[in-house]
C-alpha cells in the first residue's frame, strides 16, 4: 500500500551551523572597493541595519537535502490522480517547463527596447489571438496573474462600462448563482458591487424564475460558470443571456470549467461579454502548490477599450506595446502578465492544435461520466440533480446517506483516499450539495487510474459500514496523521511564522 515519505524534517531554522553558507555572490572587484569604500559610510546612521536577520546558516548541500525531503512529503499530478473538482489538475507537459526555463525568456527585462523583445511579443500576441478564437471573444488581455485576478479585472471592466454610461450609481448589483465559486462574489465585492444570490432549480441550473425576479435597473451583471460547478451545462443559457442583457446588465463567464467545452462551444457565442480563463487549469501549466498561474480575460468588442495597458499591437512587421488607450481602466499589476506561464500555454496549444483541444474536452467529459457512473453505484453515495443526466468535465456526489447511516462524512472519505496514494476531491462544495465530493478527473489520467480511484472509493464506503474506525482515523499513510486545523487558527496557539512561534513559546 501507498506510504508517503516521513522525514520528520525539522524547521530550517533549527538546521545548520553558524558560519556555514550555501551560496557566494559575485565578488566586488578591488578597484570598486577602493573607490567606493565602506558602504556603512554611505548609509546614514539611522538607516543602517543594526542586527542581522535571523536566517538559517546552511551549506548548499543541506539546503538541497532539506527541500528535497520536503518535496518527498508532497503529492502532485505526477504522483497520481488529483481529482479536485473545478481545479482541472491535468498533466503538465515537461517540454513546456524546458522552454519556460530558457535564458531567452528568463533573462529578458520587461522594459527592454521593443526591438530586442520581438520574439516574446510575437508569442504573446499570437496567444491572445488563439485564446480569443477559443473563447469566441473579440480581444484578450493577458495581464491577470490568476483566475481570481482575471475576475477582478472582469468586474472592474463592468464597473468601467457602467460608469461611462453614467449608470454606475444605479447599477450596484452583481448576480451570482448559489452554486458559484467563492471568488465570484468576492470579485464582485472588490469592484464595489453588492452581491445578489439566485438559487438553482431542481436540475441544478440557474432558476429562470428567480433570475427574472432578481434583475432590475440595479443589475450590473451576472457571473456564471458554464458548465456549472455541478458539472452540468446551463442549458437555458440563451434565455439567461437575454434576461441579463435586456435588463442592461453584462454577462461574465467564469472560465474555471472551460476544459469541458474546448473546441466544442464558446462562451462568446453564448452571449458572454467578459470571460476569464485559468491557464493553469485549462492550458496545462503546473499549479505550483498555489501559483504562479495566469488568468487572461477575453471581452466583447464593446468592452475592449477598457482593457488594461499596454496592449500588444502588430503593424504587419513589428510588435509594439501601446499605452495610448484613453478609456483603459489602468493596470491590474506591474508589466504584462505571468509571461513564463503564458509561454507554456502557447506551447501547449501548439502541441494539441484544434483537434487535440477538442479531444481534451471530449475525453475529460468521458472520464467524468465514467467515474460518475461507477461512483453512484457505490452504496452510500448518490449523484444529486439528475442522476441519469450526463455531466460535463466533473461530477458532484453526495455522501449524505453514508453519513446518516455510518457517521462517515465527505471529509472522512477524503482523508481515507489519501491512504491509497490518491488525492481527495474538492469537498463541501458546491454548497448546494450535502456532504459534497466534487470530482474532476481531467483527460490526462488513464482508465486504469480511474478504476483504481473508483475501487478505492468502493472500499472506503464499504469500510464505513464494517470498520468505520479505520476511516475516522485516516489518514494513516501520509507524512503526518490528521492535523488539528482548528488549533492553527486559535489565538492561543496561532504561529504564522517562526518569530511568532518563538514568542508564544
Amino acid at each position: 500500500m501507498f506510504k508517503q515519505a516521513n522525514w520528520n524534517e525539522r524547521l530550517i531554522f533549527s538546521l545548520g551551523r553558524k558560519g556555514r553558507r550555501g551560496h557566494v555572490s559575485p565578488k566586488v572587484e578591488e578597484k570598486i572597493k577602493r573607490i567606493v569604500g565602506d558602504v556603512n559610510l554611505l548609509i546614514p546612521e539611522n538607516m543602517q541595519r543594526k542586527s542581522q536577520p535571523k536566517l538559517p546558516e546552511l551549506s548548499e548541500v543541506e539546503v538541497v537535502r532539506h527541500f528535497t525531503r520536503l518535496s518527498q512529503m508532497n503529492y502532485g499530478v505526477d504522483s497520481g490522480l488529483y481529482p479536485l473538482g473545478s481545479c482541472t489538475m491535468k498533466y503538465n507537459p515537461k517540454i513546456n517547463e524546458l522552454l519556460a526555463n530558457l535564458p531567452a525568456i528568463n533573462m529578458v527585462h520587461p522594459y527592454q527596447d521593443e526591438g530586442t523583445v520581438q520574439g516574446i511579443l510575437g508569442i504573446l500576441y499570437k496567444l491572445e489571438r488563439w485564446l480569443a478564437e477559443i473563447t469566441g471573444t473579440h480581444e484578450v488581455c493577458l495581464q491577470p496573474a490568476a483566475g481570481a485576478h482575471g475576475e477582478f479585472l472582469g468586474t472592474s471592466l463592468m464597473r468601467a462600462y457602467h460608469k461611462l454610461n453614467g449608470e454606475i450609481e444605479k447599477r450596484r448589483e452583481i448576480i451570482v448563482p448559489d452554486s458559484a465559486h467563492g471568488t465570484n462574489p468576492a470579485s464582485a465585492a472588490m469592484a464595489g458591487f453588492n452581491v445578489v444570490v439566485v438559487p438553482s432549480d431542481e436540475d441544478g441550473c440557474v432558476s429562470i424564475e428567480a433570475l427574472k425576479a432578481a434583475v432590475s435597473e440595479c443589475t450590473a451583471g451576472l457571473m456564471l460558470t458554464n458548465p456549472n460547478t455541478l458539472g452540468i451545462f446551463e442549458k437555458n443559457i440563451e434565455e439567461i443571456a437575454r434576461i441579463v442583457h435586456e435588463a442592461g446588465g453584462l454577462l461574465y463567464y467564469d472560465g474555471a470549467n472551460l476544459n469541458a467545452i474546448l473546441g466544442k462551444a464558446r462562451p462568446g457565442d453564448m452571449g458572454f461579454d467578459v470571460a476569464h480563463m485559468n491557464i493553469h487549469k485549462t492550458f496545462g501549466t503546473p499549479h505550483g502548490g498555489g501559483g504562479p498561474g495566469a488568468g487572461p480575460v477575453g471581452v466583447s468588442e464593446e468592452l475592449a477599450k477598457f482593457l488594461p495597458v499596454p496592449r500588444i499591437v502588430f503593424d504587419g512587421e513589428r510588435y509594439h506595446l501601446d499605452y495610448d488607450r484613453p478609456h483603459s481602466i489602468g493596470k491590474m499589476r506591474s508589466f504584462y502578465g505571468n509571461v513564463a506561464v503564458l509561454l507554456k500555454a502557447y506551447a501547449y496549444i501548439l502541441s494539441l492544435g484544434f483537434e487535440g483541444l477538442k479531444e481534451v474536452a471530449e475525453v475529460s467529459v468521458l472520464n467524468a461520466n465514467y467515474l460518475a457512473k461507477k461512483l453512484k453505484e457505490i452504496n452510500g453515495l448518490t449523484l444529486p440533480y439528475g442522476s441519469e443526466k450526463p455531466r460535463k468535465h466533473e461530477c458532484v456526489l453526495s455522501a449524505r446517506h453514508l453519513k446518516s447511516e455510518t457517521g462517515i462524512s465527505a471529509l472522512n472519505i477524503a482523508k481515507r483516499l489519501l491512504d491509497y496514494g490518491l488525492h481527495a476531491p474538492t469537498i463541501y462544495f458546491p454548497l448546494i450539495v450535502d456532504e459534497a465530493l466534487m470530482i474532476e478527473p481531467t483527460e490526462t489520467f488513464e482508465k486504469e487510474e480511474l478504476d483504481r480511484f473508483a475501487e478505492a472509493m468502493r472500499k472506503i464506503c464499504e469500510e464505513a459500514y464494517t470498520n468505520p474506525e479505520a476511516v475516522l482515523k485516516a489518514p494513516h499513510n501520509t507524512a503526518v496523521s490528521r492535523l488539528n486545523e482548528v488549533k492553527a487558527s486559535h489565538p492561543r496557539n496561532m504561529a504564522l511564522s517562526w518569530r511568532m512561534y518563538r514568542k508564544k513559546k
Binding site: 524547521l11 545548520g16 558560519g19 556555514r20 550555501g22 555572490s25 572587484e29 567606493v36 548609509i43 539611522n46 542581522q52 536577520p53 536566517l55 538559517p56 546558516e57 546552511l58 539546503v63 527541500f67 520536503l70 518535496s71 502532485g76 491535468k90 528568463n106 533573462m107 529578458v108 527585462h109 520581438q118 520574439g119 496573474a145 481570481a148 471568488t183 468576492a186 464595489g192 451545462f233 440563451e238 464558446r266 503546473p286 502548490g289 498555489g290 501559483g291 489602468g330 493596470k331 491590474m332 499589476r333 509571461v339 501548439l350 502541441s351 494539441l352 487535440g356 481534451v360 468521458l366 472520464n367 465514467y370 443526466k389 450526463p390 483527460e443 501520509t478 492535523l483 488539528n484 504564522l496
Partner: protein
C-alpha cells in the same frame, strides 16, 4: 539489406504518426478502443450524446482558426526559434530595474522548484499529504518576517503593485477611513494598480511632494495632507528612483499620531544592510521578492510580499493564504496547514478580505530556497556588493561632461537617476546609440517625471561586472564626444 531497413523505418514512422493521431501522448484514454469500453460502461453510443445538453445552435460547426498540432520536437524548434529573436541580459549588459531586476538565480533554486511533487501540486487543501509545500511556504513566511522585522507574512500576492492595492484596502477596513498618502515619487505602474484597487473601495489617493534637492518626502507637504481622514501613509524604501528615504522615524511617528497605518514598500535585497521597516514601526510591509531567486521572465511571474504585525485585529484583515503551524490531532507531531481560512473567499464569499486564491506559491518557495542559501551573512554581502557597484557606476557616470548622476543628493542603493540635460541629446536617442553599441540603458523617465528633464533610471546589481560598468561609461563618453 539497406533498402529493407529504410522501408522498416518508414513503416515505423507511419505507425507512430497514426498512433499520435489516434492517441495523444497527454491523453491516455484517447485510444479508440478504451473510449469504446468506457462508453459501453456509461451506456452511451457516442461522445456527442454527452454534449446533447448544449443547445444545437452553440455547437461549433467549423474548426477554429488554430495552428496544426506539432510534435514535441517541432514545438521546441518553433518556440526556440521565436525566442531567439529576443536579446537577453547575457547578450548585452542591461541597466534596467524599476520593479523587475536582473539578479543571479543559483542553480539550486531552479532544481528545487522543478521537483515535480512541488511543481505539479495544487494549493494544499489536504495538508496531511502536502506537508512539503506547507512547510516550505511557512519557512518563506518566516524568513520574510526575519528580513523585514515583521511578525506575520502571507505566503504571497501577485506582485508589489497588487500587494499595495490590497494593503490600501486593508488599511481602510481597519481604520474606517478613506484616504491614503502616497509619495509623488512612486512607480507609475504601482500607482495605476493602486488606483484600480482603491477606487471601488472609495479610497482617495493623495500624493505628497518631494524635496527637489534630495528627493526625500517633503515633511511640510506631508504634515499639510495628513489628517484624521488618513487611513494609511505609504512610503517606499529604497524609493522608486533608487534613493534611501531617511525620514522614516518621523513619518512613522506622525502617521501613528494621526491614527493612520504606516505601509512601507521594500526591495528585499536591500534589507541585508538597510534598517528593516519593522524597526521603524511599519504596520504593513509590501514589496517585490522577484529578486530573491526568481528570474525576470519579461516581467512575470513576480512575487508580492505582504507582512504585518502580530495583532489579531490586523491579522484577521490580511489578504491571501497564510500557513500556520499546528500539531496532529493526537498532539504527537508538529505539522502545517492553511490558517485563518475564514477570512477567505471560499468561506466568506463577498465578505472575504480579498478574492485571492491562486497566488505565486512556487515563486515563494524559490525565494525561501534563495534566502536559505544566502543566510544572514550572504544577504549582507549581496546588499554591500550591489550598493558598491551601483555607486561605482554613479562615480564614473557623474564624471562625464553634461551628465549628472544621481539627480538627488541622497544615498542610493541599486538604482539611481542619470540626467542628460547637458548633453543636448534626448534619453531616447542616447539609448538608441548605446543599444547600437551593445549596451541597454536604463528606463527613460522623460515622460514620467518631466520636471526632472532628460532623465533615466539606471540599475546596477551584483551581476554587473566592473568591466561592464566601465564600458557603459566609456561608450557614453564616446557617443557624447563624437557629437
Amino acid at each position: 539489406m539497406k533498402k529493407l531497413k529504410v522501408s522498416a523505418d518508414l513503416v515505423l514512422i507511419l505507425t507512430v504518426n497514426l498512433l499520435i493521431k489516434r492517441s495523444h501522448p497527454y491523453i491516455p484514454n484517447s485510444l479508440p478502443e478504451i473510449k469504446k469500453e468506457m462508453m459501453q460502461e456509461i451506456g452511451t453510443e457516442s461522445i456527442d450524446e454527452l454534449y446533447a445538453d448544449i443547445p444545437k445552435k452553440y455547437h461549433l460547426r467549423k474548426p477554429l482558426n488554430l495552428p496544426e498540432a506539432l510534435s514535441e520536437f517541432e514545438v521546441k524548434k518553433q518556440v526556440e526559434g521565436l525566442l531567439s529573436k529576443n536579446k537577453t541580459c547575457s547578450d548585452m549588459p542591461v541597466f534596467l530595474g524599476a520593479g523587475c531586476w536582473p539578479h543571479y538565480v543559483p542553480a539550486v533554486v531552479k532544481e528545487i522548484v522543478q521537483r515535480s511533487e512541488l511543481l505539479t501540486s495544487y494549493t494544499p487543501y489536504q495538508p496531511e499529504i502536502s506537508q512539503g509545500m506547507l512547510q516550505a511556504l511557512f519557512e518563506y513566511q518566516s524568513m520574510i518576517c526575519e528580513l523585514t522585522g515583521m511578525e506575520v507574512a502571507n505566503c504571497s500576492l501577485y506582485d508589489w503593485a497588487s500587494a499595495l492595492g490590497e494593503a490600501s484596502r486593508m488599511a481602510a477596513r481597519l481604520t474606517r477611513r478613506n484616504e491614503i498618502l502616497v509619495p509623488k515619487i512612486v512607480h507609475p505602474e504601482r500607482l495605476a494598480t493602486l488606483q484600480v484597487y482603491a477606487e471601488p473601495a472609495g479610497i482617495i489617493i493623495k500624493q505628497v511632494a518631494y524635496n527637489k534637492e534630495t528627493g526625500q518626502i517633503s515633511l511640510d507637504d506631508f504634515r499639510n495632507k495628513i489628517s484624521d481622514k488618513t487611513a494609511a501613509v505609504y512610503i517606499e524604501n529604497p524609493s522608486y528612483l533608487g534613493f534611501v528615504e531617511t525620514q522614516v522615524d518621523e513619518i512613522s511617528r506622525e502617521a501613528h499620531a494621526h491614527g493612520a497605518l504606516f505601509i512601507v514598500g521594500i526591495d528585499p535585497t536591500s534589507l541585508g544592510i538597510l534598517k528593516p521597516p519593522g524597526d521603524y514601526d511599519a504596520d504593513i510591509v509590501v514589496g517585490e521578492a522577484q529578486p530573491l531567486g526568481n528570474a525576470m521572465n519579461f516581467g512575470g511571474p513576480l512575487l508580492g510580499i505582504f507582512a504585518c504585525r502580530d495583532d489579531l485585529k490586523v491579522i484577521r484583515q490580511m489578504p491571501g493564504r497564510i500557513i500556520g503551524m499546528t500539531t496532529t490531532l493526537d498532539g504527537n507531531r508538529q505539522g502545517f496547514c492553511m490558517a485563518l481560512q475564514t477570512r477567505e473567499q471560499h468561506i466568506r464569499r463577498e465578505k472575504a478580505t480579498s478574492n485571492v486564491c491562486t497566488n505565486e506559491a512556487l515563486c515563494a518557495v524559490a525565494s525561501a530556497v534563495y534566502m536559505a542559501l544566502l543566510g544572514p551573512e550572504g544577504l549582507r554581502e549581496l546588499g554591500e556588493t550591489i550598493m558598491r557597484k551601483a555607486n561605482y557606476a554613479i562615480h564614473l557616470l557623474s564624471k562625464i561632461d553634461g551628465v549628472e548622476a544621481p539627480v538627488f543628493k541622497s544615498t542610493h542603493f541599486k538604482e539611481f537617476t542619470v540626467n542628460f540635460d547637458g548633453t543636448g541629446l534626448s534619453v531616447k536617442d542616447l539609448h538608441k546609440k548605446l543599444l547600437e553599441r551593445g549596451i541597454h540603458g536604463g528606463k527613460d523617465l522623460s515622460n514620467e517625471f518631466p520636471e526632472l528633464g532628460k532623465t533615466a533610471l539606471y540599475c546596477v546589481t551584483e551581476i554587473h561586472s566592473e568591466e561592464e560598468i566601465e564600458r557603459l561609461a566609456t561608450v557614453l563618453e564616446e557617443i557624447l564626444v563624437r557629437r
